[in-house]
Subunit: 364 residues, 2 copies
Amino acid sequence: MLTPISKHVKMHNFSAGPGILPEEVLEEAAKACINFDHLNLSLLEISHRSKNYEKVMEEARQLVLELFQVSNDEYEVIYLGGGASLQFAMIPYNFLKTKAGYINTGVWASKAIKEAKLLGNVQIIASSEDKKFGYIPKNYIVPDDLDYLHITSNNTIYGTQYKAFPDVNVPLICDMSSDIFSREIDARNFSLIYAGAQKNIGPAGATMVIIRKDLLEKSKSNLLTMLDYKTHVKAGSMFNTPPVFPVYVIMLTLRWIKKIGGVSAIEKRNEEKARLLYEEIDRNCMFEGTVISKEDRSNMNVCFRLKNKLLESEFDNMWKDANISGIRGHRDVGGYRASLYNALPVESVKVLINVMQEFEKKNA
Amino acid sequence: MLTPISKHVKMHNFSAGPGILPEEVLEEAAKACINFDHLNLSLLEISHRSKNYEKVMEEARQLVLELFQVSNDEYEVIYLGGGASLQFAMIPYNFLKTKAGYINTGVWASKAIKEAKLLGNVQIIASSEDKKFGYIPKNYIVPDDLDYLHITSNNTIYGTQYKAFPDVNVPLICDMSSDIFSREIDARNFSLIYAGAQKNIGPAGATMVIIRKDLLEKSKSNLLTMLDYKTHVKAGSMFNTPPVFPVYVIMLTLRWIKKIGGVSAIEKRNEEKARLLYEEIDRNCMFEGTVISKEDRSNMNVCFRLKNKLLESEFDNMWKDANISGIRGHRDVGGYRASLYNALPVESVKVLINVMQEFEKKNA
């Protein structure tokens, strides 16, 4: 018999990633570490080829199709290790034949571009680098002869997010790591979507990839086995031992999304959280948002700063006293960043807003 | 407050991998899923760049150096996602310039050879394929002009294991996934050792790599970032989000090895377990070992079969009734395979031997 495990204090976790997960998911995950599926064995010490685990992998794949409202006739879902950063290389390694297009909206897009350039001809279709990635480019032309166009749907570091996706005649590939299943999208417009799990759908250590079969058929031949999407599709993500526990926690998190009403319900919650916080930033005389064009503000990562930087340590003490965690800005940017991922309750946003208002009263 | 979690029945877990982990490690892992390091946050939802997690990564790296008795002046330790299978590709991608040597002792060695052949010139120095990998090759000559020689220290599927390693004048690279830290070795004879964690040192989802600095300096240039060992060494395994939870459980498991007396103590336990079981297989008139040359029998994966295959279902019922789990042979080989990884107590081996003796009494 184990000692009961508990959190003693309710924390408000605004971490940019790995980010907050639902309480009930964490509790199930803890249980599985001791006794999984009534086997009297831990999930950490059973074969990934056991029936009990095969069911987990299958459900984790099916839930992605279901939440994206697409069919297995058209799309394949796989789970891989290595993070989204490995996808930056795998995508051009599999699909860049003549020329690939990239839109540069920040650090992650730039990293994806760097890998593609090592493998072939890359055209930068648009970039917001001129204004420190403070907006999402619009009104660009996408040539019809690209092998694919790669975009990054949400920028965790600078706090921008595509509100509409480019309408293109080439395969559209999207890094959706930081806003997957946070809002309804038409997945049928995409040929490949990938997401490191550790922001909206699980813990670090696994990456979800959904690929349209017609793109998969175009992939190159004689690739290194582990870097070939076809390997993992054929083997149902079980070519080698998958990241067993991370995929299990993803499955639990996707189940939770479905249970609370699916992506449309999540989207409403996320919109309310973002609206409340941006309204406060714009209203409160002590703060300012950092994204140049308000229409491109991310609903996931809300970036702001104090107008008077000298008051930072006072503000820091106040939010720490309120059991708020993880709102410091990225080390390249500074200021503050409140990440409002799916599992963050609106209550936590209200606590932060309250601290901001108290801070204004004291200092305005 | 959570309901206490417990196993109700003590299982004897002989799984070939993911394999058994120490009870106390599983309990700590479960606690960290709820409340890590008294942060009132789960390990699954905090930044990998938090001080609390940086300490975990650092300790996980230091423990490898300590258990191998080598210094950070000479060796670097990193943790990667993607499994040992990704290392099959990364090794030649980083180090195969002119010609690499491989010794083929089974399925995993063959897979490593396949990847190297996609990238360059490969010489098979020795192979036991002629006798279904039932022995470890000896008395071969290793040319001095190889970029490296690659070996697989233990064969999980066929149950063979190197008892002495080749003495070579080229960098020696070893896949030690299934017997790492199960016995004392002289790590200084190796330029690179890698191990998927899920057999002897942790759960699935992370791979440990230890590299001698003089080999690292010889690695190729302009490599894809995530496939370049230098990337991960420079960033202390934090170039991108690492497999946070798997690395934590590895750290706990390495701590446990150290606590119970280090690798020399583990080796004594493992030798006793293997001796007891092989003695029974050789003595018991119902069973036979499957490895041709007894001196190459693995202390980790004990492969055996019934002389009369028709009695399999009766034997299966008996070991299942004794709460034994995971002793079916690999699907390519059949028969039985009892994996005696570090965390398996000698008590479990005695339970299996008892079942074998009961079975003999009934059927002999």
